[in-house]
Subunit: 328 residues, 2 copies
């Protein structure tokens, strides 16, 4: 199997570690040429999961995007959604022909609000059956430690899902398959927004009792959204949906939760951004998902609350009190 | 409203704090006469939630069980299931006539494996419509801190549920109602077993990724059990079910989780019991629930795993590996 991995962050590094357990050839694209030199020299990604020793017999880092993709049958995109279109913009329209594309991204394409796999479908003509997504529950940090983890591979063509899942299955990873591509992607985006809400409520002084209320109501919200947006019989409490939400919301390290907590404590978005040196994925996701939600007939009080707080300049405590009345 | 609260532990103390927000008369029975004297003198329960100041104008502690119950219209039982029958055994069979009984207990009556409300129904002839149960998600410790919490009141008669819910509703508690009495009680019992499983897996070295898999699969298991044992249209992800499971499984203070963790690290049940000076509720619940489960046709791999580990003397790691293959 010839695989391209695009992106140099934690999740890309974790996927490379997992894939290296099998006999594969992995070309690894990242923009940062300095990191590539360090990886070649020290067999470690200097910036992310630096404890992971990389097997350079199987993994070839390269700054040449075209070459990396051209030589591969499977392309795993692990670049933040905000920068994905920009990173790929110079590639010809037919460049992904006959390739399988796997999204490891949790976010919408800006402006168009497209799912990542829909972007490959609409922009590069990749058929839906050749598009896949990876869902958690999976902290990259625990992959580095080889803690046993479950991944869920979503693809409308379950044979393709199975082929890829077998590539991930190893002594510390269990991979299973679902046909719910769009559902898996939307759920993964929504979980970051819920993590923001958990952070905000924590910043406002709420405790674990209330976080449990938020997370359980979020599952109701996610299920209702999915059943309207992409109807399908799905087991919403399997690990790929509920489990993925849980690791994100209960992690002390979640950037979305930390960002939300600062907002809850009264920081402005700008100040939180400067302080944390980044904007959490959920911040952009909130805008995109709210635009999708506005055109639907579904109740999403948690999404609406986070949008009010981040984009509508509503008084925080008042919005929070109103939210409480909508939860069960 | 004249209320009796039976039991002197954390949960009883938390309920008394909540109920004292309203204009009520509360008689509080506990066995420990020394604690009663201290409460009367210092307005604090010396052993549990001792930071809570008790309003003795509304709350009257007493060691006289018969008097406490006789003078009340509503009786809240907050005694561990293992000791409940023993505590009440001297009362005449018609003693609870025309009273509403609220279970704040999470466990089965030993030997008979009856739900607590079923015990009052079968043993004292209290009609099902006068029996209620309180579900979380609610750490008593956060009630002491007045952290905003949600409670769910279950009763087949929703008017009774609503009457009691309005009694609990206050500036830091939101109480809502469901008609699913048996379901709420079974779910509350099963959550302690899941917390044991989380502790065991943690003791064996698993991390947050795997805990998320366990908890999400537990929800599938609980829903399947309930839909067979007590069929009803229920929203399984509302806070009274999913949220209650979450606070229990994600609490560092859960006795079930701590007990499970010691088992996972290789302690025997006896050693864990000596070390922790108690046996977790989930230990007894596992035995009772497994006996119920054996006579049903439902897949409950997590319950079966915990039972294997605690009661069947199976090799721990081997059982754990087998469990992993049954999760999704």
């Amino acid at each position: 199997m010839k695989i391209a991995v695009l992106g140099g962050g934690s999740w890309a590094t974790a996927l490379i570690k997992i894939l290296s357990e099998k006999a594969v050839s992995i070309k690894w694209w990242m923009r940062d040429t300095e990191a590539i030199e360090k990886i070649k020299k020290f067999k470690h990604n200097p910036d992310y999961l630096s404890s992971v020793e990389l097997n350079l017999k199987k993994v070839k880092p390269s700054p040449d995007l075209e070459e990396v993709i051209r030589d591969s049958d499977w392309v795993i995109a692990a670049i933040p959604a905000a920068f994905l279109a920009l990173a790929l913009e110079k590639l010809p329209k037919d460049f992904f022909k006959n390739k399988k594309i796997v999204s490891g991204v949790k976010g919408l394409i800006p402006d168009s609000n497209l799912l990542v796999t829909d972007y490959f479908n609409k922009h590069y003509g990749v058929p839906k059956s050749d598009l896949l997504a990876i869902a958690g529950p999976c902290h990259a940090e625990e992959i580095a430690l080889e803690k046993h983890s479950f991944l869920t591979i979503a693809c409308e063509d379950l044979e393709n899902a199975d082929t890829f899942a077998r590539q991930l299955q190893c002594r510390f990873v269990n991979a299973s398959c679902i046909a719910d591509l769009d559902g898996a992607e939307y759920a993964a985006i929504l979980k970051n927004i819920v993590a923001l809400a958990c952070g905000i409520s924590h910043g406002l002084g709420s405790g674990d009792n209330f976080q449990a209320v938020l997370v359980s109501n979020a599952m109701i919200e996610i299920e209702e959204f999915l059943s309207q947006k992409t109807p399908l019989k799905r087991q919403i409490n399997r690990s790929g949906y509920l489990g993925d939400l849980l690791v994100t919301c209960y992690s002390q390290f979640s950037r979305n939760r930390t960002f939300g907590k600062m907002i809850g404590k009264g920081y402005s978005v700008k100040t939180a951004q400067i302080e944390l040196k980044m904007i959490a994925e959920g911040y952009y996701a909130t805008k995109g998902m709210f635009e999708i939600y506005k055109n639907m007939n579904v109740e999403m009080p948690i999404l609406a609350f986070v949008h009010e707080v981040l984009y509508e300049n509503k008084p925080l405590k008042q919005s929070f009190e109103l939210l409480k009345h909508k939860l069960v």
